[in-house]
């Protein structure tokens, strides 16, 4: 018999978004039964890796409008502007709330919270806790969540499927990893906060757990994935490991040079050159990530990059910042570069290259974090509201976790108020079907495919064809490849047939999720015949507002490519125009 857990709200994912949602639920009504389900202990969630900071208007020289304009322009006008407005209004409140919960934000001399410049932002508005902002944010939320006895945690539970009956989401199934048993969560509402899916690519800043599980869960349950083709490359990753050096490096004044020691960004519409050590907002090194990553690609084509054992690189030079500032503001960057690349930024330039970083796309939600499936909500990187449009600005995402994590919780409370209850018989039957499916995967023998083999083929194909620059030809072959891999997935065989902490099984399930997501990326990219933000087509170089000022919606099909539909972008006050990152027009 499968264990059943009755709960009011089940949250899948205990990263920044999931924890924020859980706290909001516990504060909204202490009597709510909250289940917080996560495949890793909360403090292992990948929010801990975020370095640079979280954006929110707080200083007197800043305004909501300026943050709005930066975000919408940065997103190449693919953001839903009503959502952006809501986001920007809530941002400072959420960051202040976090301060009240003890987050060790870096401070000005007068004791107020300090802000730093960030790429694509016209004003300094990024709150930071040295260069471990995500880490502190996650731990502050996790530790604060311990205050609330109504938050019941199910750590190291791997969620597999949503349980849907009568057109409502009524729970989910999850494997308790330590026992290998499948548990059924019967919930009045479910919130998915499972984070991104960068592991579809071979070279990424994302941790091993970022495999798009929640996206795939919702997708398979009939909720479409939105704007999946927009995959952000971060311009400054360590070439051997993909470890990120935060945008804060450039915010503090680090510069990018090619092998001729030339600041090449001025050749790509981000000039004129600014004096070294005096970064100017929104130009040169403080341009947006998509532009910087694209500039790298062109430099590489021109042969201006520096060859290293790990591929072509450009150099991030921070020597002029000096040891004191680096140790104070960027200690983690120094530690990472020194240990993983054996190069000390105080004394030498650091070779870096673009690396897959963030999914702008995700589970299609509305401004209230609700999906089209009643009872199902989503927030954080796994969701697409969309405030990030075609390119997320650095430091908007940590804030997004908070704002929409809370929003999802409040929407769920409201939804529960309508008196919904799970239908035990119907969803139990479904849960048993899930169990049957997993058991088949588990017990099957005579398979010919290996998990790591399929995974490598997938990541290689994504890197080659769905990377910084894309073509119809390449994307077609990626689509064909992923389609083929989805079929071959049926032939994998597990070698571990025991129950306790079976990571072989989990990797198989994660691979399945990544294949589903990867297909949505590739097909969405193939169909979007324009260049916008992080999606750049060599065969369609211009932005095409006529046909593609629209969100892509990918609808799942079990053994065929997804069906693509489009949805209008919400525009309230900013009409699409040219994204300008040249300092000249200031």
């Amino acid at each position: 018999m499968m264990e059943k857990i009755q709960t009011d709200v089940a949250i899948v994912g205990a990263g920044g978004a999931g924890l924020r949602a859980a706290i909001a639920l516990a504060e909204a009504d202490p009597k709510l039964r909250i289940s917080l389900i996560s495949k890793v202990y909360p403090m292992r969630s990948h929010t801990c890796a975020a370095e640079g900071g979280a954006a929110g208007v707080i200083k007197p020289d800043d305004s909501m409008d300026l943050h709005f304009n930066d975000t919408v322009g940065g997103g190449d006008w693919l953001c839903d502007q009503d959502a952006v407005e809501y986001f920007i209004k809530e941002a400072p409140k959420e960051l202040t709330q976090l301060e009240h919960w003890g987050c060790p934000w870096s401070r000005e001399a007068d004791g107020s919270v300090a802000v730093r410049p960030f790429g694509g932002m016209k004003i300094k508005r990024t709150w930071f806790a040295a260069d471990k902002t995500g880490f502190h944010l996650l731990h502050t939320l996790f530790q604060t969540s311990l205050k609330y006895p109504s938050i019941q945690r199910f750590d190291e539970h791997y969620a597999t499927d949503l349980l849907v009956d009568a057109g409502r989401c009524q729970g989910l199934t999850a494997i308790e990893m330590r026992s290998g048993q499948l548990r059924q969560f019967q919930a009045k509402a479910v919130i998915i906060t499972t984070g991104g899916a960068g592991r579809m690519f071979p070279f990424t800043t994302n941790g091993a757990i970022k495999t798009g599980d929640g996206m795939a869960m919702a997708y398979r349950a009939g909720v479409s994935l939105k704007d999946m083709e927009f995959v952000q490359y971060h311009p400054t990753g360590l070439p051997n490991t993909g470890i990120l050096l935060t945008e804060g490096c450039r915010g503090e004044g680090g510069i990018l040079v090619n092998k001729h020691n030339y600041r090449y960004l001025q050749d790509y519409g981000m000039g004129p050159e600014t004096p070294i050590g005096q970064p100017v907002l929104k130009t040169m090194e403080l341009g947006p990530r998509d532009r910087l990553s694209q500039a790298f690609w062109h430099e590489q084509k021109k042969g201006n990059t520096v060859p290293t054992p790990w591929g072509d690189c450009v150099l991030l030079d921070m020597r002029h910042l000096g040891e004191k500032l680096i140790d104070e503001r960027l200690p983690f960057v120094r530690e990472l570069a020194t240990s993983y690349l054996q190069k000390d930024p105080v004394h030498e330039p650091i070779p870096i290259r673009p690396v897959v970083h963030y999914m702008m796309g995700g589970i299609h939600t509305d401004i209230n974090a609700a999906t089209v499936l009643p009872g199902l909500f989503a927030a954080g990187e796994c969701a697409c509201v969309t405030i990030n449009g075609a390119n997320r600005l650095g430091s908007n995402s940590l804030t997004e976790l908070l704002v929409f994590g809370k929003r999802a919780a409040l929407s769920a409370v409201e939804y529960i108020g309508s008196g919904v209850t799970p239908n035990d018989a119907a969803i139990t039957k479904q849960a048993e079907r899930v169990q049957g499916r997993i058991r088949t995967l588990f017990e099957k023998s005579g398979g010919t495919e290996s998990i790591s083999g399929l995974r490598k083929e997938m990541t290689d194909s994504m890197e080659e064809h769905a990377g910084i620059y894309r073509t119809a030809e390449g994307l077609q072959s990626a689509c064909a490849k992923i389609g083929e891999l989805r079929l071959r997935y049926a032939d994998i065989e597990l070698h571990d047939k025991t129950n306790v902490y079976n990571t072989d099984l989990l990797q198989a399930l994660e691979l399945g999720a990544m294949l589903d997501c990867a297909e949505a990326v590739a097909v969405g990219a193939l169909e979007r015949k324009e260049s916008r933000g992080a999606h750049q087509r060599l065969d369609f170089e211009a932005r095409d507002d006529q046909n593609y000022l629209k969100h892509t919606l990918a609808h799942y099909h079990p053994n065929e490519p997804p069906r693509i539909e489009y949805l209008d972008v919400v525009i309230t006050k900013s009409q699409p125009s040219v994204r300008d990152y040249s300092g000249a027009k200031k």
Binding site: R178, S179, G180, T498, N499, V500
Partner: protein, 130 residues
């Protein structure tokens, strides 16, 4: 239930052989035997002193037996180890914050060593060694 967590027992009486740092720790801890022994030795000395000249001088006499000398030497070694390990750990127990920055541990340790040298010289001087 297929779980069966395996508990590795810690060897209760021999655990400190496992790592060099545990041996160093135990070395530091056993200095207490010598500190204690020396305190008792002083106690005896005070007792003899209270009993008058003869008793006290006999006591001083007794010191120069080989066992007496050995006791003094070994105790000195252990007490020196006690003193250095004690001073080396002071910055942890009592960090000093000046303005924003903490004083580097080395400075605090150094100050202790300097104080120690001064104290020792003063004691030796007052006792008429120089």
């Amino acid at each position: 239930m297929s779980r069966k967590p395996y508990v590795r027992e810690v060897p209760k009486t021999t655990w400190y052989f496992r790592q060099g740092r545990y041996m160093r720790y135990m070395g530091r801890e056993v200095t207490c035997i010598f500190v204690g022994a020396y305190a008792l030795f002083l106690l005896v000395a005070i007792k003899r002193l209270s009993e008058g000249r003869a008793a006290y001088e006999a006591f001083l006499e007794g010191l120069s037996s080989p066992a007496g000398i050995l006791f003094q030497v070994v105790t000195l070694i252990f007490v020196l180890y006690h003193a250095t390990s004690w001073f080396n750990l002071t910055p942890k127990a009592m960090p000093v914050q000046r303005g924003e920055q903490f004083l580097p541990g080395g400075v605090i340790v150094g100050a202790h060593y300097a104080g120690w040298v001064v104290v020792s010289l003063v004691v030796l001087f007052l006792a008429g060694v120089f």
